[in-house]
Every structure is written in structure tokens, then in C-alpha cells.
């Protein structure tokens, strides 16, 4: 007990001592992919707390932000503040972030399947977000569609042509959702689910805003999106709802201090502020709507606010294997693009024919028809490689940047061409089998 008191006393002393000894710098510059709705409340509150320091926000897309930091090593911005954990991984691998140990207390060590902060201390989770399904209520009513609850619901024929997603190669969070489904359901079954949902997709967007934009304006009815897109659209008055399926993942949104930052003390103070009670409370703002990483903050959240620390359905069902995910990161993206994004039309046609055949079988059942449909289903959800192959450095390595410590793999383009041919052949065959099944009697 005494030891604990002494420790916390020491911590407080260290903190005040440090803060007292050296004032913060006059400015701190932050590159962020977050919108003004998110950044402004934090910036204003931080400046009230530290009146001598001015926060300069530079808005860039995640890609442009990473490139900017990489190209400006000699005089970099102080911080990078964004959602996608993979962007921080890239910066960390390129030695563009610096270590820091946040002093804030009361932060949960883990949120969802992953640690809140980078275990090596290069970036820090300040809020969590989960993936789920966003839908436009006007659209569903007009098209007589039921509201979905689970990923499996999206496989139903009623949703054919009503669902959108952003490509995992374009969006780190979509990638995590895909990987979560793959790990939650297993490689083969997971891909089968993805391909069957793929059959219902109306578009695979290259812009991550493309999906919430389209659902908000009613171009299509349902989108697979990260929670704050759905929750903040709803808070802004759009006729949309958002649900978390039970197999979902929670990912932290992060902030990191850039290596060589000129304004280190101010940058550290900003990290501490985000993690402080005051900073965490700001996350509940209707225009921000992210999940705090300080469990105590949920006590002050409005009724019905999702809480990953008490709600067992949120991100608890899946134990996420980070190493497995990282080893095949680029490969999974490329495979998704080959099988779904670039062959969406063919995949749609195959599944449309399968749905039609199943509907006609339901009217007049026969063994030959069932056999043909089963074969068509198998082809439309087949995979060109096994899980073991996907984790094999000789194959997965072809999709990664060349590094001296990695074995030289075959070329990415060769695999991609093979998968593309595989997908086209299977989808065409599945379609013709299903069409035969529909005629069988």
C-alpha cells in the first residue's frame, strides 16, 4: 500500500516536475486524416488548457499524409493522427515515429482484440471503432428490405444489388473486417462468406468515403463501414442506422509523434490530453462518436452508446492473431481485388443465376438440380490457394516490398494473373451450371 502511494506520488511529482521545469513549445503541427468536426473540439480544448501553445492542423488523406512525412524527414511535422493502424505500421517500419510512454492512467490496456497502444510504444490508441453495417432506412422501406443484423444476412438473395463496400486494398479498416471474418470463420469458410456477400455487392468503392456517401444519399441501401461513419451520419440527421454484427472487430484510432519532431514537449502534452479524462469525454460529441479507451468515460455516455468493455458482442468473439494478419496483409488485399473487386460483374452474374436456380428448386425440387446448384456454389466460392500457402513467405512475400531479410519470391503479377483467370473461369462455369440447374426437372 505504501509502495503504491509512493509510486503514484512519484508519478505525480515526475509529471508536475517535468511540466513545471520546461514550458511547452509555442506550436505543434499535426498531420491528420480526420475531419474538422473531429479535430476542432480537441484543438480548442487543448489550447484552453495550454494557452501558450498553438495547434496547427494539416488535413491530408492517409496516403498523402504518409508520403508527406516520408518526404519531409529533414523538418517533419510533429504528429500524425489518423485511423488506419496499417499507416502507423508503415511509418514505424520506416523509422518515422518516435517512442513515448504515455503517463495517463485509467486507459484500458486492450480494446477489442488488440492492445490499445503499440506494444513497442511508437503510436497510441486514443479511441476505438468497430466495423458493421450501415443502412438507409428510407431505402429499405421503399424496397421492402428487412434490416440486417449479421454478416450472414448480407448473403440473402433479397439484398442482391443493394450492398456496397470499399476495397480492402483502399481502406485499412475494411481490410481488418475482412481479416476478422477470415480468422473468425476460418480461411475457407470466411472466403466463402465474402464471395457470397460479394455476389450481392452493387459496388466496391475505391474511396472509403464512397460507401457512407452512397448510403447517405440513398444510391444503395446498405454499406459495410466503420461505425463512426454510420453514427455521425445519423447524428447529422441522415435517415440511416448502424449495427455491429457479432463477428466484428474493434480497432483503435491512433496518434503518434513523428521522429525528429521539433516540438516534442507540446506533442507529448497533446497525446496526454487525448488520453485524459477531458479529452476522452470529447469523443462522445455527436459529430465525433468514437469509443473512448478509458472505460470510466462510458459512465457519462448517453443511453445505448456502444461500450466495448462491457458489451460481450463487441469484438470479443474473435481472438485476433496479429502476426498471421501481418504476414498475409498485402496478399489478402490483392486476392480480394482479383476475386471480387475486378470481377464483380462476373461474380454478380454467377450468384444471380444461383439464387434463381435455388428459387426454382424450391418450387419443384429435384436431385439433378440440387447437384448442379451445389457444384455451382462450390465454384462460385472456390479459392485459388490454401491458408497454408497464403502464409507461406515464398508466396506472400511476392506482395510485399523487397527487403534484404526476405526471401525473393515469385512476382506479384504472375500470381495475380493466375487468380484472375481462376476467378473468371469459375464464375462463368458456376453461372452456366446454375442456369442448367434452373432448367433441370
Amino acid at each position: 500500500m505504501i509502495r503504491l502511494a509512493a509510486l503514484s506520488f512519484a508519478a505525480i511529482f515526475a509529471f508536475t516536475g517535468l511540466a513545471g521545469a520546461q514550458a511547452l513549445e509555442e506550436r505543434v503541427s499535426i498531420v491528420t486524416s480526420f475531419s474538422r468536426d473531429v479535430t476542432t473540439p480537441f484543438v480548442e480544448a487543448f489550447q484552453r488548457r495550454h494557452p501558450g501553445t498553438r495547434v496547427e492542423i494539416q488535413n491530408r488523406s492517409t496516403t498523402a499524409g504518409v508520403s508527406f512525412i516520408r518526404e519531409t524527414r529533414s523538418n517533419p511535422p510533429d504528429m500524425f493522427w489518423a485511423s488506419a493502424p496499417d499507416a502507423f505500421e508503415v511509418l514505424k517500419k520506416n523509422q518515422l515515429l518516435q517512442k513515448y510512454t504515455p503517463r495517463a492512467e485509467g486507459i484500458a490496456p486492450r480494446v477489442g482484440p488488440s492492445p490499445t497502444h503499440d506494444p513497442e510504444g511508437f503510436y497510441f490508441g486514443f479511441a476505438a471503432s468497430g466495423y458493421g453495417i450501415m443502412y438507409n432506412t428510407r431505402y429499405l422501406r421503399a424496397n421492402n428490405l428487412p434490416a440486417p443484423k449479421e454478416w450472414d444476412d448480407l448473403k440473402k438473395p433479397v439484398y442482391f444489388g443493394h450492398i456496397g463496400i470499399s476495397a480492402p486494398s483502399r481502406s485499412g479498416t475494411t481490410h481488418l473486417t475482412i481479416e476478422t471474418i477470415l480468422q473468425g470463420e476460418g480461411w475457407d469458410k470466411g472466403w466463402a462468406t465474402l464471395l457470397e456477400i460479394g455476389g450481392n455487392l452493387v459496388s466496391v468503392s475505391d474511396r472509403s468515403f464512397g460507401v457512407p456517401d452512397a448510403v447517405n444519399s440513398g444510391q444503395y441501401g446498405l454499406g459495410i463501414v466503420i461505425d463512426f461513419f454510420g453514427l455521425s451520419a445519423k447524428a447529422s440527421g441522415f435517415p440511416v442506422e448502424f449495427v455491429y454484427p457479432s463477428v466484428t472487430t474493434i480497432v483503435p484510432a491512433n496518434i503518434g509523434i513523428v521522429a525528429g519532431a521539433r516540438n516534442q514537449r507540446a506533442a507529448q502534452a497533446f497525446v496526454e490530453f487525448l488520453l485524459s479524462e477531458e479529452g476522452q469525454l470529447l469523443l462522445l460529441d455527436p459529430k465525433i462518436q468514437r469509443l473512448p479507451v478509458r472505460p470510466a468515460t462510458y459512465a457519462r455516455a448517453p443511453q445505448g452508446y456502444p461500450n466495448p468493455f462491457t458489451d460481450p458482442s463487441l469484438g470479443r468473439r474473435v481472438t485476433f492473431d496479429g502476426d498471421k494478419s501481418e504476414a498475409r496483409y498485402e496478399l489478402v488485399n490483392s486476392l480480394y481485388d482479383r476475386l471480387i473487386t475486378f470481377r464483380l460483374k462476373e461474380l454478380n452474374e454467377a450468384w444471380k443465376a444461383i439464387h434463381a436456380a435455388e428459387a426454382s428448386l424450391a418450387r419443384r425440387d429435384n436431385a439433378e438440380g440440387r447437384r448442379l446448384v451445389a457444384e455451382a456454389r462450390r465454384l462460385a466460392s472456390a479459392l485459388p490457394l490454401t491458408e497454408a500457402e497464403a502464409g507461406d513467405p515464398a508466396i506472400a512475400g511476392a506482395f510485399q516490398e523487397r527487403r534484404p531479410d526476405r526471401p525473393v519470391a515469385a512476382r506479384q503479377a504472375e500470381f495475380e494473373e493466375r487468380w484472375d483467370a481462376f476467378a473468371r473461369r469459375n464464375y462463368a462455369e458456376a453461372k452456366s451450371l446454375a442456369e442448367r440447374a434452373a432448367r433441370a426437372r
Binding site: R36, S74, Y139, V204, N216, S217, E401, A413, D420, A421
Partner: protein
Amino acid sequence: MADASLSLPAPRRVGLLARWETTPFHLFCAATVAIFLIAFLIVPVATVVFVAFWDGQGFTLVHFADFFRTSIMMEATWNSIYVALMAVVVATVIAVPLAYFTVRFKFKGAALIQTLGVIPLVMPPFVGAVAMQLVYGRNGSINLLLMDWFGFRIPFMEGLNGVIFVQGLHYFPFILLNLSAALANIDSAMEESAQNLGASGWTLFSRIVFPLAMPGYIAGAALVFAKVFDDLATPLLLNVNNMLAPQAYLRITSVGLADPMGYVISTILVLLSVLAVWLSLLSLKNRDFATQQRGGGGLSKRELRPWEKIGAYVFIAVALLLALSPHIGILLLSLGTIWSFSVLPDAFTFKHYLTVFRDAGGMMGNTVLYCGLAALIDVVLGTMIAYLVLRTKLPGRQIIDQIAMAAVAVPGLVLGIGILRVYFDVKMPFSGESVATFWVMLAIAYAVRRLPYALRSCTAALQQLHRSLEEAAECLGADKSAVMRKIVVPLMAGGILAGFVTSFATAAVELSATLLLVTRDASAPLSYGIYVYMQSPAGRGPGAALGVIAVVVVAVATWAAYRVAERDRAKRTREGAAA
């Protein structure tokens, strides 16, 4: 044609310069252009694109071989070529009648039509996408109405045909502007001679007027082709992936990935665009379009008969309504509260404009400054290059032209990264600020990316200008730079203006390089502001309001440019008449 230079007393020309029909002034122009292109296009882009030719140890072409072995790439190549050709057809159908009506007939509001005709080029990023979907999308206003009234939809925005439709609407101004400038340059003596020989109506148009305006049409059509070929925004908006530009984009912008195929595709895009422009120039070769126009020139304008007038007005109204419907959509979006799965927004409000005026005042000024400067650089360089190519035999002049043209296919992100890589460590004198993030660099980046537009317009204008006019001036003792200032540039004014307007208008909404090079809100242009707002659902209204402001800024600038040009032309015509 007698060699006028024989009668020139000075400057003395000997050796190579004479053989190249080149003077020191020309060399100065060539050096200026070359330095600009090397410093701001070749070196920055090369530092990024070399990955395409690199296999970890040395030079390789294996990635290019992969390109041709990959069926999706070949499919994408054919799709891109098909879409670009068809978009030229759609753009021609809209633009040629519009240009002809406004130049040929006495029309009320010809300047207004010309100005409105530019606006489709100004499609604010993201906002434009949302507005297009809200108007033409599968549950956009038009399709919702069609469903209600007739029970069917038209897939305006689906697949390759959707891309062709949207691109045709978006880029027809390239043809409109260049063709109008070319038509206005035709000597009315040509037309009168044809009429004396009994030609009229369609014969007159198809045998005399249109062929004489060919350089302008070809310049516009080549630009539409190259732009559509390289354009990214529309396929992305329509989620069409099996074209070259989106394939390159998907690979280049993946976070932190150095996938050589992205740069291979970019290189191939550059080569094919340059090839297209080269082919278009070839089609003009060995033909003479130059007329010794008398000052004002231009076709004689006539009154339309009443029924013709009605027909023309109906065509113009329909064409402009189609072309401007996305902008009407942006306007509604900026004034609406919530707009979701309905024909019109639920309610209307001015609060988005209030939000925007609070924090975007400076952005307007920045946009005018950067884009104005960029367009000015473009027309100066464009005129120089056109002159070198068409009037001298300087070795390498074609290469300069092709390199400048290649900029059309360089992705903004690649140029932005390249500029940061080359110039970030170069410091400004006095302030110590990095040159790469100094605001002038943004204007230069815009100038590089929009140079092809100005260049094609300037080339077309010069092709219509007869050499004898310059030779006459030289006989009267003017040196090359005086000829340039007093004869060539004034007579090319129409084409230069068209180039200025297209460069300015398209630079006003450029985003990808902007996102890399802007470091402070105070120096940000409107496109950056739109991007920032459009990242949240609540920002859709304010983003659209900024989009409307961008459109208005471009429209006002275009209109002002026309006014200046008209006054100039009127003055010259008067002088011509007096002489």
C-alpha cells in the same frame, strides 16, 4: 514563298542557327521551357517513377512484360481507349453545334453560353461526385422520377457507358473553347469566295468552314481523348475499375506500397497519351490551315430565321441543362438540409454558406492567385513551345512538345511526392521556409499539370496564323521578339485565351497535388477546403457551398477574360477598318 529572311539586315545568322531557322531569342525561349520542364516535371517524376524500371539491383523491363502478360491490364487498356474515343464522339455532338451557333449567328448571350460552357470543367472534388450521384445515380433525382412516373430506370452512371456519358458532359468544353477560337479566326474572305462559287448551308459548313477550323477541333478532341484516357475522378466515382487510370491509382495510392506496376501503368498512360496527340497532329500535317486574316477576321454573322432560332435555342437549352445538371445538384446540395433517397432535399437553408464564409474567405483569394499564376505560366510556355515547334527547325523541338504533353498523364500524387522529394530541403532565402511548401510551388505544380491544355490551344491558334504576316513584319525591320510581341501573340489571342481559361478552370479544382503541398490553412486553396469538409457527413452542405463558390469564381474569371478579349478584338477590328 520568297525567303523573307534574305532581305533582313540584322541579326546576322550563320551556321547552325540559320539552318535551324533559329535566333538567339528562340534559343532563350527553348532554354526557358527546357529548364522549367526539367526542374518541375522530369526530375521530380523520375525520382518517383524509376521503380517501374528497377528490380532491386538494376534496370529491368520485366515489369513491362508483366503488364502485357496480364489479361486484366490488356482489358483495361482497350476499355480506356474505347471510352476515350466514345467520349470524344459525345463531346463533339454537344460542342460542335454550340460553338458553331455562337460564332456563326447573331445571338443574344453568346458570351454567356461560352462562359456556361466552361463550367462543366469545374467539378469540385467529392462534391461533384456526390452531386452527380444525386442527380443521375441509380436512385438520383432523375431515376426516382422515372421510377415514379414510368416504372423504369436509365443506368446513366453504370459501367463503361456511364463513364462515357459523364466524361462527355464533363470535357466537351475543351472542344467548345478551342473550336470557337478557331472559328472566330477564319477569314471571312474564304467564306465569301465559297458563297460566290455557290456553296451554302451544309456544303459551306462541311467543305469550307469546318475544315478551316480543323486545328482547333483537333486540339480540343485530342485534349478530350488524352484527358478522358488519363482521368481518374469519373471511373472512381462510378466504381469502374477495369480501366488504366484507376488501375494505376489503386496501386500508387495504397499506403506505403512500392508496387512497380502502378508506375508501369503510369508510364504506359503517358506514352499512349503522347501517341494520341502525335497522331492527331499527324492528321493535320501537310495541310495548310493558315489564312492571312485581316485583323478582326471571323465568320460573318447572320440572323437566324425564326424556326431556326427556336431549334438552336432548344438545342442550347438541352445541352447546357444536361451539362450543368451536376452543378445544379451542387447548388441544391449547398442549400439543402438532408438529401437522401428523394428527388429534392428535405428543406432549404443558408446556414452552410454562413459556415463557409466564416472560414473560407482567404481560400477564394488563394485559388484566384495560384490558378491565375499557373494559367499565366501555361500560356507563356505554351506560346513559346508552339512557336518553336511550328516556326523553327530547332532539333528536339518535338521532344519538348511531347514532354510537356506527357504532363497530362502524370498523377498529381506522383508529381506532389516528386516535388517534395526534390525541393523539400531547398530553403527560401530570408524566411528559411522550404521551397516545396512555399505557395508558389503549388502554382507551379498546377502549371505543370495543366500545361498540356494551354499548349494544345496555343498550337492550334498558331497553325491558323499565316507565316507571311510575320515575314512582312520582319521585312519592316521588327526583330524576332518584337514580332512575337506585336504580331504573333495578338493574333493568337483567341487560342491563348482558350488555353488560359481551361488551365485556370481545371486548376481550381485540382486536389491530389494540393493535398501534399499545402501546409497551412492560410495558404490553402478552395479545393483543399472542400476536401476537409467532405470528410464528414455534416460537412456535405458546407463542402457543396465551397464548391458553388469555386464554380462562381471560375465563371467570373472566365467572363472577365472574355470581356477583355472582346474589347481587344473590337479595338483591333476598328483599327483594321480605319486602316
